[in-house]
């Protein structure tokens, strides 16, 4: 429950902090409605549409309604996929509005004790620290390797968890050993002709749980002719914090990253996770009021590129003779990569240039898979409904492989495959891993 006093504080801050011009920019045309997964999955409920959410935020600012449970529910049920932005002819920056609204609500609300502890551990104690992320991931690795995992599965302990969480446990990748995680080099030479100097954003999940994918990424970059620097001092991108209403934490991380990357003066800063990339590219907005950092953030942003973009730009797909055993492949867009970073053609170009592959476009490939950070845990019901829809269209392609470009989406697609009982004939992979297989020409 949000107390009256909390509601009052939230309302006050909505008035002072929400961008009124941006709220007014929404001319309520509804062009965003058909693109919004929660609007569709809720059975066309305006309260779960972008237009409805903007109207609610504006009504709170205007004092027409209080930020009550229903308003909060509407905002919580938003995936933050930002599919509503590229289709908005008025150019409303919905993502920024949502971030601010969530931040205000969370700052002014006393969460229940368990939620408070989880948030504190995750946002303050864990994600900001690469070494702690490693330690936690390592625990998971121990669990997987010690035989405990198979024991737990045998006893059926997982059956006590909600359905999707026990499936989630099954699809988590086997994580690398602590020692491997700690041994990341800081500089790698280009293979063959050096075409560009890049700095690599290694990410927190990507560099622990998905470390092999990061290794693949680095290898691809080297093959494409990149000299790579990996700044040691970099931090988590801050997306989880930013999207969950911990904006100050996110700002701290943004500053650390800007500093870490400034030192290298690379041609490009490369990411291989759509979610991180979209948050990094928004640093200029996040830090717009900070005179010390706002310009540096713009500079940072100007160098940011997704792995797919740089590979296509450096002609990797034409220079390399990519091939794999014959198979059907489809691509699931990472929302943020597509809607915020505007990368949609490049991954498809790369996949289509692999010999042996039959590329099939999935219907509504640009529709969110329902992963959305921790959404699939906190809004499980809606998330699974969205995932079911996604799996229906995925199955229609008859593809053996679903390629993704973001760790969250990757896990979610794996979860979808598991839930559908399709793991014997369908797999989900990150585009970096897939491309590296194609370089070697083996499955």
């Amino acid at each position: 429950m949000t107390t009256m006093k909390e509601q009052k504080n939230i309302q006050e801050q909505f008035k002072t902090r929400m961008n009124e011009d941006e709220l007014l920019n929404c001319m309520r045309c509804g062009f965003c409605l058909p693109s919004c997964p929660t609007y569709i999955e809720s059975g066309y409920n305006e309260a779960h549409s972008p237009r409805g959410r903007i109207a609610l935020m504006k009504a709170v600012v205007d004092g027409i309604i209080e930020p009550d449970e229903d308003v909060e529910h509407s905002l919580n049920l938003c995936l933050g996929c930002r599919a509503c932005e590229p289709v908005c002819p008025s150019g409303v920056k919905y993502g920024h509005l949502l971030e601010d609204a969530r931040d205000i609500i969370h700052q002014n609300k006393k969460h229940s004790l368990p939620a408070r502890i989880t948030r504190k551990v995750a946002f303050e104690g864990l994600f900001p620290y690469q070494n702690r992320m490693r330690a936690v991931t390592n625990l998971l690795g121990l669990y997987q390797r010690s035989g405990l995992q198979s024991a737990v599965r045998k006893i059926g302990l997982m059956n006590f968890l909600p359905d999707h969480l026990s499936s989630m446990e099954k699809v988590l990748p086997s994580v690398p050993k602590m020692k491997e995680m700690g041994n990341r080099p800081v500089h790698l030479k280009a293979m063959g002709q050096r075409k560009a100097k890049v700095a690599f954003f290694s990410g927190c999940l990507m560099d622990t749980m998905f470390m092999t994918t990061n290794n693949a990424t680095l290898k691809l970059l080297q093959i494409a002719g990149c000299e790579i620097h990996i700044p040691e001092k970099q931090a988590c991108c801050g997306a989880l914090h930013g999207h969950s209403g911990e904006k100050n934490q996110a700002k701290e991380m943004a500053k650390r990253n800007i500093e870490a990357f400034e030192g290298i003066n690379a041609d490009y800063i490369i990411t291989n996770a759509g979610g991180c990339g979209a948050f990094l590219i928004d640093y200029d907005h996040l830090l717009k009021d900070d005179p010390n950092y706002c310009e540096r953030a713009v500079h940072f942003k100007s160098k940011l590129k997704d792995l797919s973009n740089i590979l296509v730009e450096l002609n990797f797909h034409e220079d390399q003779n990519l091939s794999l055993p014959p198979q059907s492949v489809t691509y699931q867009d990472s929302c943020h990569l597509r809607n915020v970073m505007n990368t949609k053609h490049e991954p498809r170009t790369l996949l289509q240039s692999i010999n042996g592959i039959r590329y099939i476009e999935m219907k509504d490939a640009d529709r969110c898979c329902g992963s959305a950070g921790i959404y699939n845990i906190v809004e499980a019901e809606m998330s699974m409904q969205i995932l079911d829809h996604k799996m229906k269209t995925a199955k229609q392609t008859n593809a053996a492989t679903i390629v993704t470009a973001n760790p969250g989406c990757l896990l979610q697609m794996k979860l979808g495959i598991e839930r559908e009982g399709l793991s014997h004939k369908m797999q989900a992979v990150h585009i970096a891993d897939f491309l590296l297989q194609a370089v070697d020409g083996k499955e």
């Binding site: 001319m27 309520r28 409605l33 305006e46 309604i65 229903d70 509407s74 002819p89």
Partner: protein, 470 residues
């Protein structure tokens, strides 16, 4: 306010999950796409069948509760703003395609079906439903029928009205009626179908619609003609029609509109010219080729600086999409976007465009104009800021003059967006006192307690006619 007892009656008809009286729920149905209109309903009710609609109306009739039927709320005349409270009636559950009749070339649908879903479905079978409001991705057939919506293909194929063959509707007292049908010929009694089309939810609740379909045209060609001055573009429109060519589409965009649209779609639209015409012809390939050739000649003779044909269907679709987004893209310029819908006989397009520009200068406003030039339907649009009350007054004055001028040229105050609340004060200018009285007589015969979308179409006061000083 609706009492708990009545709410429970609603719940027992449609189920608890289909009645929402939460504050947030009411707020998100308090507006539509019309700027500056907002009012809270008392509850939202979503029936699943015609029978449920009929039962709901009986309850509302007994308690005199206003009913605002709502499709997707994309109308631009405040037609779904619950200005007098009551319930908002949603058709989200009633969105099925009921029958595609290949022998009679008809399709029967529930009102809540999204227009584009219907179009896609019939096109799969090689059939064509021509009305295509720019909002078709979002709007519903129920909304289209009740606003008698038009679109980019209106010039050649007409508007929604021309395709509605039959309706099922629930009257205010709960009676269910059927009008028209699949017959090509039918003169049994008054034409209630036509009466209900465009009635904006004030005469009955539409629960089923039978639409006429036609075969898909065999081919289509798209042109973009660029102009250094607006007059030349407007004259081209008249010349094309005078030459007895009826293109499928003949759309007009002025320079400010072009700029914002390009900013959104980024397809390389020319932004250095003063106006463009988007022209399309469809039909038999030979006839299309001949018409396109003639149209090109006319454009050039009327001083078009360039006439380019779209190279592919993708390019043509990109152009159409660009045109469709014009209105919302204009919202990029200023916080508030006020759009109008004045329509004149197409021979008067050039005069009307000129008048709009003069009115803009007179009131020191920035008016962007685009629209369905081919059918005389223009959308002069003012990017402004509702917080600037001084400017808002000038906007009102300017629009009053634009309407007055349109009527003087033999035109009307709205060509497709409907009257709703927005245009209600001006309706008398077009219809006269007697015309209003006739319409009111129909309204009170069908809805004596005035519970169906009250406050729409008929205003409490009419605006005084402005005298135009030229």
């Amino acid at each position: 306010m609706i009492s708990t007892k009545v709410l429970q009656e609603f719940q027992s008809i449609v189920g608890v999950e289909n009645v929402d009286d939460s504050k947030a729920g009411r707020l998100v149905y308090s507006y539509d796409a019309t700027p500056q209109f907002q009012s809270m309903p008392d509850a939202i009710v979503a029936p699943r069948t015609t029978k449920e609609v009929a039962e709901l109306l009986k309850v509302c009739n007994a308690h005199q509760i206003p009913i605002v039927p709502r499709g997707s709320g994309t109308n631009l005349c405040a037609g779904t703003c619950p200005s007098e409270g009551g319930i908002v009636l949603l058709f989200k559950h009633m969105n099925r395609l009921l029958e595609l009749d290949h022998e009679n070339l008809t399709v029967t649908v529930q009102p809540g079906i999204i227009t584009l879903d219907l179009i896609n479905e019939v096109e799969k079978h090689g059939l064509f439903y021509p009305p295509d409001p720019s909002s078709m991705k979002i709007s519903t057939i129920g909304g289209n029928v009740n606003e008698n919506s038009g679109g980019l293909r209106g010039l050649k194929y007409g508007v929604t009205r021309d395709y509605v063959l039959g309706l099922e509707a629930v009257l205010a007292n709960g009676d269910i009626i059927r009008t028209g049908g699949k017959l090509a010929k039918d003169v049994a009694g008054y034409d209630l179908t036509r009466l209900l089309v465009g009635s904006e939810g004030t005469l009955a609740i539409i629960t089923e619609v039978t639409l006429k379909l036609i075969p898909m045209p065999e081919s289509k060609k798209t042109l973009l003609a660029l102009y250094e001055d607006m007059d030349a573009a407007a004259k081209t429109v008249s010349s094309i029609i005078a030459d007895k060519i009826i293109p499928t589409t003949l759309e007009f965009l002025d320079q400010p509109t072009l700029k914002v649209v390009e900013d959104f779609v980024k397809i390389g639209l020319p932004t250095d010219v003063k106006a463009v015409l988007l022209i399309e012809q469809d039909g038999h390939p030979d006839i299309v080729a001949r018409d396109i050739e003639n149209i090109t000649k006319i454009c050039l003779a009327e001083r078009a600086v360039s006439v380019q044909a779209a190279k592919s269907e993708e390019e043509a679709e990109a152009l159409r999409t660009a045109r469709r987004s014009a209105l919302s893209a204009l919202a990029r310029l200023k916080p508030t976007t006020i759009l109008e819908d004045a329509t004149v006989p197409r021979s008067q397009i050039a005069n009307m465009v000129k008048a709009i520009n003069e009115i803009a200068i007179k009131h020191q406003l920035n008016i962007c104009t685009f629209g369905h030039a081919g059918d005389g339907n223009l959308h002069p649009t003012v990017p402004t800021d509702a917080r600037n009350s001084e400017e808002m007054e000038r906007v009102e004055l300017a629009f009053a003059e634009i309407f007055a001028h349109a009527i003087d040229l033999g035109g009307t105050i709205t060509g497709e967006h409907g009257v709703g609340m927005m245009k209600a004060p001006y309706l008398e200018w077009k219809l006269g006192k007697e015309g209003i009285a006739a319409m009111k007589a129909i309204k009170s015969a069908l809805d004596p307690l005035n519970i169906l979308n009250p406050g729409k179409i008929f205003a409490k006061d009419s605006r005084k006619r402005v005298v135009i000083s030229k």
